[in-house]
């Protein structure tokens, strides 16, 4: 948690260890995003069913979103791993996690149990308990993405 403290955020007093932790956090988030994109990119038709299940987007938008989202995740992941445009990538990683969490929570409140479709595209029927787990997992990644974003933008 030392990375959260404000005084750590001028590059001058960053120790080598801090830099390493920051690098690992960013790289690992990148790997997660890249990993999540693979099955969706391979089968956009299956993924569009998942997007449809969320019952949030109007029908004409479902396929375009299902087709582009995996590549957005993959690009974000690669940028985070390679350190290219890392501030932008971190911002997008954070924002996409906000959107994913909201989409899940909207359905949790509506009482619709949707399959998350976060890391694979197999449509299953899911329980309420599983929905809570999805939300918890998304919040964890959201927090992680926030730390990475903070590191990236404050370390100018």
């Amino acid at each position: 948690m030392a990375l959260l403290k404000e005084h750590k955020w001028t590059p001058n007093n960053w120790s080598l260890k801090d830099k390493k932790i920051a690098l690992v956090l960013r790289g690992a988030l990148g790997v997660l995003f890249l990993y999540a994109s693979v099955s969706k990119a391979l089968d956009p038709f299956e993924f569009s069913k998942i997007v449809y299940n969320y019952q949030i987007l109007p029908e004409p938008l479902i396929y375009p979103v299902a087709a582009v989202l995996p590549y957005l995740e993959a690009t974000i992941g690669l940028c985070l791993i390679l350190g290219i445009a890392k501030r932008g990538a971190a911002l997008l990683a954070f924002l996409s996690m906000v959107v994913f969490s909201l989409a899940l929570m909207v359905n949790l409140f509506r009482g619709i149990n949707v399959d998350c479709g976060c890391f694979d595209v197999e449509v299953r029927s899911v329980s309420q308990a599983r929905m809570y787990w999805y939300v918890l997992r998304d919040f964890t990644i959201l927090f992680w993405a926030f730390i990475v974003l903070r590191q990236s933008v404050l370390r100018e």
């Binding site: 069913k49 449809y52 299940n53 149990n113 399959d115 100018e156």
Partner: protein, 170 residues
């Protein structure tokens, strides 16, 4: 938190926009190479698609299904897997996994009497099992087949009668 927001500079937002553009172009190019074109409309709703092809509306409104169930005037078929079926299903529904129809047909056929309406269901808006089962039954000559879309979830929400190991039977 605030310091993070104020540190978001124009450059960051510009980078983010670039990533979005790169991803969109990448998606477009790869899609064109793999599938040859960009579909204008997707057969996302399997039920709507099947209804269109058959020229009849397969979907049954929830209220109508509840009504038929109450009067015992329809046969309900659960198209999900036996595992899901055993956990919980509409009271009195038979388990007919869509992909195993041939294997269980000898058990199912005697239960489908005369013109009694048949209602198939599975779970999830995009689940196509109930539609597959309905189409298979229509192919076998049954005319009065309807599909209860997102059936299990909506049935539970409407407090319809259910039975199974993981539900409170009513």
């Amino acid at each position: 938190m605030l310091s993070t927001v104020t540190a978001l500079k124009k450059a960051t937002i510009l980078e983010a926009l670039c990533i979005i553009v790169v991803a969109a172009v990448l998606a477009l190019v790869i899609h064109l190479v793999r599938f040859g074109d960009i579909p204008r409309s997707m057969p996302i709703d399997p039920l709507k698609q099947a209804s269109k092809e058959l020229g009849i509306s397969l979907e049954i409104p929830l209220e109508e299904a509840l009504d038929l169930h109450k009067g015992g005037r329809a046969v309900f078929l659960d198209a999900r897997s036996p595992v899901d079926y055993n956990k919980g299903h509409i009271s009195g529904a038979l388990n007919v996994p869509a992909q195993d129809l041939d294997a269980v047909w000898y058990q199912v056929e005697p239960k489908l009497l005369g013109d009694k309406p048949i209602v198939t269901y599975c779970d999830g808006m995009a689940c196509s099992l109930s539609k597959d089962l309905a189409v298979a039954l229509i192919m076998r000559g049954y005319d009065n087949v309807r599909v209860l879309k997102d059936g299990w979830t909506r049935w539970l929400k409407a407090n319809g009668p259910v039975e199974g190991t993981q539900v409170d039977s009513k």
